[in-house]
Subunit: 332 residues, 2 copies
C-alpha cells in the first residue's frame, strides 16, 4: 500500500510542478525539479526525501475509511509547502547542502532561489484548489484555510528562530513557540487535512490534529537529541553536531536556563569540533539530556494516545501507527 | 466614493496583517507594517502607495451593480500579493530604496525580508479565503484560483527578468512574456476577480479581464518611456534613468533588435549618468521611442475598448474609467 501511495504522490507532485514546464521557463522548471530530487546531479529517492507529510495526509484519509486517491492534491500541497520552506530556509541559514546535494541558492544564486521558493508555494496553493475536482467547494476552502494557518505559523517560527540568533538570554520558554511553528504546525495540518478529506466528525478531526501536533513536537525533540548525542553528531564531522552549528535546540535552551557552566561557555564563542564530546557530556551533567528525553517521551505518549482516540481503521490505520512509531523511535 | 473605498481597503489590510500582532511576533508585525507604510520613519500615504490594484477590484465589482463592501477581502489580497512581490523584488534587485524609504532587507537583512515577503503572501491567501463570509464557497475557490494563476505568472515574469540580465542577445519578443507576468497579470486579475465578485456574466468577465490585461501592458510601456525620457530620468539623477540601471525595457529591447549603434554601446559597459541624454537621443534616432509610443497607444485603445464592452455602470463605472485614464495618461 505504501508504495502505491508514494507513486501517486510523486506523480501528482510532478504534474503540479509541470505548470512551469513551458518553452520560456524550462530552466526555471529545472530548478524546481532539481530541488524536488528528480533531476540534476544526485537525483533520486535520497534527494527527494521521505515524503512523510503527504503520506500522513493520505494514510489519515484512508484511516477514516475514505478513498485516499481523492486527497492526493492536498498531499502534494503540503509537500510543496514543506519544500518551499526548505528552499527559503537554506538561503536564510546560508546552508550549502541539503540531503547531500548543493542547495538551490548555491547553484543559481539567492535571487533565483527566492523565486523558486515562491513558485513552489504558489503551486502548493494551486494544488489545494485542485481538490475541487473531487470535493465540494466548502471542503476545499476548509482545507485551504487549514493549510494557510500552518503557513503563517511557519513564518512565525522562522521569525523566532532568526531573532533568537541575536538573543543571549534565551530559555526553555522560547523553545515551544519556535518549534510549534517550524516543525509541528505542518505535521499537525497533514493529519488535520487528512481527517477533513476523510469526512471525519469533529471529535475525530481534533484527535488527528492533536496527534499530528504532538508527533511533530516529539519528532523535533528527538531530532534535537540526535543532533547532539546521535552517532553522527558525536563522531566529529563539523556539520553533524548542532553544538558546532550553534543551534538553539531544546537541550541547549534548557541548559541556558540553568545558567551554569554550559551557559557561560555557550555565550563566549562558537563551540569547536574538538570540544563536541566534552560539551555534550557537560549537557548530560546539567540534566539537559534527561530533560529532553523526558519531554520526547511525553510528547510521544500524547501523540499515540490521540491517535488511539482517532480510531484509525483498517490497513491504512495500521500503516499510520507504523509510520508514527517509525518517526518516534527513529534512529539516525 | 474613492475615499470611502480607500478607507475600507486600508482598514481591511491592517486587520489582515494584524494576524501577526501577537506578544512574541510584535517585531515581525512591525516589519510588515513598516513595509505597508503604516509605521516607522516616513510612514504615511506616500509610503503606502496608491492602492491602485485594490481600487480596481472594488470599482469593478461596484461597476457590475454589486455591493463592493463584500469584495474588500479580495481587494486586500491583491494588494498583499503586490507587496509580497515588492519585498522579494527589492532583495533580488538589491534595491536600497522603495518609495523614498529604506527597503525591508536593508533595515533587517535579507533573511528576515524573505520571511516578511512570505508572510505577506500567506496573509494574502488568507484574505481571499475570508471571502467565504459573504460569498458561496464556489465563488471563493474561483477567486482564489484566479489569484494563484496570476501569482505563478509573477514568478515566471520574475524568472525571465532575472535571466535576461545574463543574456546579450535579447530582442523585442522577449519583452511581452516578462511584462505580462511582472505587471499585467496582477492588474488583469484585479478586474477579473472584481467581475467574478460582481457576479458578471462570462462575456463581461472576459471583457474586464482583457481590460486589465491591456491596462497593465499600456501602463508598463508608459513606465518604460518615462524611465528614459521622463523629466526625472533626463535630469541626470543616477537612480532615475532606466538606462543607468541597465533595465531591459521596451525601447531598449527594440533598439537591441535593430543591432545598430545603440546595441553596440549597450553591450559594452553600463551607461554612465553623463551619457543619459545622448543615449536617449540615440534611441529616438533608432525609432525606439516612436515604437514604444505606438504600442502604448495601441494597448491603451484596447484597454478602453474592452472597458466599454464590459459596460461599467453608475458612479463606480465613471470612476473606473477615470482611474484607467489616469493610469494611461499619467505624467511622472
Amino acid at each position: 500500500m505504501i508504495n502505491t501511495l508514494l507513486s501517486a504522490i510523486e506523480a501528482e507532485l510532478q504534474s503540479q510542478v509541470m505548470r512551469l514546464d513551458q518553452p520560456r521557463t524550462r530552466h526555471f522548471h529545472e530548478m524546481l525539479t532539481y530541488h524536488m530530487g528528480w533531476s540534476g546531479e544526485g537525483a533520486g529517492p535520497e534527494a527527494a526525501g521521505k515524503r512523510i507529510r503527504p503520506l500522513l495526509v493520505l494514510l489519515t484519509t484512508a484511516s477514516c475509511n475514505s478513498e485516499w486517491l481523492r486527497a492526493v492534491p492536498a498531499a502534494a500541497a503540503v509537500e510543496l509547502v514543506h519544500n518551499f520552506s526548505l528552499v527559503h530556509d537554506d538561503i536564510q541559514d546560508n546552508s550549502p547542502k541539503r540531503r547531500g546535494r548543493s542547495t538551490v541558492w548555491t547553484k543559481w544564486g539567492a535571487p533565483m532561489a527566492i523565486n523558486v521558493g515562491d513558485a513552489l508555494f504558489v503551486i502548493a496553493n494551486q494544488a489545494v484548489l485542485d481538490l475541487q475536482k473531487s470535493y465540494p467547494a466548502g471542503t476545499v476552502v476548509e482545507a485551504a484555510a487549514i493549510l494557510q494557518n500552518a503557513c503563517l505559523e511557519l513564518t512565525r517560527g522562522q521569525f523566532l528562530d532568526m531573532s533568537y540568533e541575536e538573543k543571549t538570554n534565551l530559555a526553555i520558554e522560547d523553545y515551544w513557540p519556535m518549534i510549534s511553528g517550524k516543525t509541528s504546525a505542518l505535521l499537525s495540518v497533514c493529519a488535520q487535512i487528512g481527517a477533513v478529506l476523510g469526512n471525519a466528525d469533529d471529535k475525530t478531526r481534533e484527535a488527528y490534529r492533536l496527534f499530528g501536533h504532538h508527533l511533530g513536537l516529539a519528532f523535533q525533540v528527538q531530532d534535537d537529541i540526535l543532533g547532539i548525542w546521535g552517532d553522527e553528531a558525536m563522531t566529529g564531522k563539523s556539520t553533524a553536531s548542532d553544538l558546532v552549528e550553534g543551534k538553539n535546540s531544546l537541550p541547549v535552551l534548557f541548559a541556558l536556563g540553568r545558567q551554569g557552566k554550559f551557559a557561560r561557555r555557550w555565550k563566549q564563542e562558537p563551540i569547536k569540533i574538538e570540544e563536541v564530546a566534552e560539551i555534550a557530556a557537560l549537557l548530560v551533567d546539567e540534566g539537559a539530556r534527561e530533560y529532553a528525553e523526558k519531554l520526547a517521551h511525553e510528547e510521544t505518549r500524547e501523540a499515540l494516545e490521540n491517535l488511539e482516540k482517532a480510531k484509525p481503521r483498517g490497513q491504512a490505520g495500521r500503516y499510520l501507527l507504523e509510520l508514527a512509531n517509525k518517526l518516534l523511535k527513529r534512529e539516525q
